[in-house]
Amino acid sequence: MYTSYGMEAIAIGYASALERDDVIAPFHRDMGAFLIRGFTPGEILAQYLGKRTGPSKGKDGNVHMGDLNRGVISFVSHLADNLPVATGIALAFKIRGERRVTFTGTGDGGTSRGDFHEAMNFAAVRKLPVVFFCNNNQYAYSTPQRLQMAIHDVADRAKAYGMPGEIVDGNDVAAVYLASTRAIARARAGEGPTFLEFKTMRMHGHSEHDPAKYVPRELLEEWKKKDPILKAEQLLNQLGYGADAYFHEIGERVKKEVEAGLEFAEQSPLPEGPEVLEGVFAEEAGSY
């Protein structure tokens, strides 16, 4: 199970900046984006439990959820595979003359893949309405950024494709939202793709089984102080949008929603064995 601990601001920030008919092809730490797109805790937990009521009906698990009707492309484990796909979605918008945008991204490790480069290049050549981001959480599983690339800022990669690259504080939801809004506006105006590097830190292991002993403790301590949720609460507090009691109330409401979702998921049926044979081929195509 891949979590978003310490990286919550990224998905919440960019997904909030999009319009309803825009499309996202999220990274596997973007649970917030699914929630904003209307995936309920019940559906999500059913997916994780392999239940028939999950978005993939038990055919796939974990964060591999998608729904064309909600403009969400299902994640593929092969990192950066969805970047060319997102580019093609933007191509469809451009061909049809629609003012819609695609938002997609990968991690620092994913930017080593050829598909990352092929997608960035094609999108820039054709000025496609797509925004790419990098969730730079400093580790790809156990591999630190310095063994992944010889540059300090992933954003530098954008130069090679003739597109703007911007470094953004990935733990500041307002900064993520504002940078995303600018990049989306640029894409929508036909000016082409932008690359956003959201700098952050992965506070848990790669997956929940991984104690991540390879990450220096002091690094985690340092980033703990920059927790994006605390940061957002402080900001909202300063701006007068809410105080501790309000955040506590939200927390209680969310807890209830998640508990109800868990009950739904647990009570949902598992798929029957023979359902394995269903759905290899489509009978009809969809659209969005």
Binding site: K57, K59, D67, I73, V76, P84, I89, A92, F93, D115
Partner: protein, 332 residues
């Protein structure tokens, strides 16, 4: 592109049949568009899309960067949004660069989350053209093993046109293997009206009672030549052209072998793990009681496709190989 009206009353080549199918589908359905390397101003390495750029414009005849994985992935995205991309691999050999997008993304997509990928990848394949190890491959075997893809490989202009139209109208990713050796070598008069050749239907190209040769693409013509030689020896060979590799038309395959009781599997892809191996296993499972002799395979050796003429000639199956195999089987 020559004018359609004149062309339709005349014989058209296999290559022209492919070009016609693309042109007609693009006219019929504005969602259909083309992507690939050098397909625009240049008209494609084999000139399949010559004149298309002028007719349909640069957003429907899209020259791509040299990045097969990137543009196949892009085709998947466009297909998800409701368009009908037809991707050209300059040579089928280069499809290996897009292997991941095809097998992991396109093939699994509908199964994983119910989103169909109506996309065609055209792949000029096959040898006999002195193309060497990187311009002669028959890579269909790699994809034959990946659930979620449909695979077709026509042998005639009629099938080439009809199968390409069917592939474009299919809601799934379809790999369309077109044989380079056949491009300008075979011709036929095609129907003037719109038609498709349904995916999943084999075609008996020559009916016979004694031995079934099960094959596809360019090898069909080799089998038909061998059948003529064997006819003089009173060996009546049936030639089953699979046309579609996935989904396999098992009914036609089994029907033929149950009638003749003898089977030769012939293909241009190398032997080990090829399509012939799978069909041989199916026949052993489903037609064992009907068989009067061993199931034989004729296929190239397990080597890359070589360049030099004597090497390539040695590599490829020949009419005489089929004749010898048939004689051997006739003795049972």
């Amino acid at each position: 592109m020559t004018t359609e009206t004149v062309q339709r009353q005349q014989e058209v080549t296999y290559l022209e049949a492919i070009s016609q199918a693309l042109d007609e589908e693009m006219t019929r359905d504005e969602r259909v568009f083309l992507m690939g390397e050098d397909i625009g101003a240049y008209g494609g390495a084999f000139k399949i899309t010559e004149g298309f750029l002028q007719k349909y414009g640069e957003w429907r005849v899209l020259d791509t960067p040299l990045a097969e994985s990137g543009f196949v992935g892009a085709a998947i995205g466009a297909a998800l949004m409701g368009l009908r991309p037809v991707v050209e691999m300059q040579f089928a050999d280069f499809i290996s660069c897009a292997f991941d997008q095809i097998t992991e993304v396109a093939a699994k997509n509908h199964y994983r989350w119910g989103a169909a990928v109506p996309m065609v990848i055209r792949a000029p394949f096959g040898g006999g053209v002195h193309g060497g190890p990187f311009h002669s491959e028959c890579p269909e075997g790699w994809f034959f093993h990946s659930p979620g893809l449909k695979i077709v490989a026509p042998s005639t202009p009629y099938d080439a046109k009809g199968l390409l139209k069917a592939a474009i109208r299919d809601p799934n990713p379809v790999l369309y293997f077109e044989h380079k050796f056949l491009y300008r070598r075979i011709k036929a008069v095609l129907p003037s009206e719109d038609y498709i050749v349904p995916i999943g239907k084999a075609d008996v190209k020559r009916a016979g009672n004694d031995i079934s040769v099960i094959t596809y693409s360019a090898m069909v013509h080799l089998a038909l030549e061998a059948a003529q030689v064997l006819a003089k020896e009173d060996i009546d060979m049936e030639v089953v052209d699979l046309r579609t590799l996935i989904p396999l038309d098992k009914e036609t395959i089994y029907g033929s072998v149950r009638k003749t009781s003898k089977a030769i599997l012939l293909h241009e892809d190398n032997k080990t793990g090829g399509i012939g191996a799978e069909i041989a296993a199916l026949l052993a499972e489903e037609c064992f009681d009907y068989l009067d002799g061993p199931i034989l395979r004729i296929a190239p050796p397990d080597t890359p496709v070589p360049f030099s003429t004597p090497l390539e000639e040695y590599f490829h199956p020949k009419t005489s190989d089929i004749v010898s195999a048939a004689r051997k089987l006739a003795a049972y």
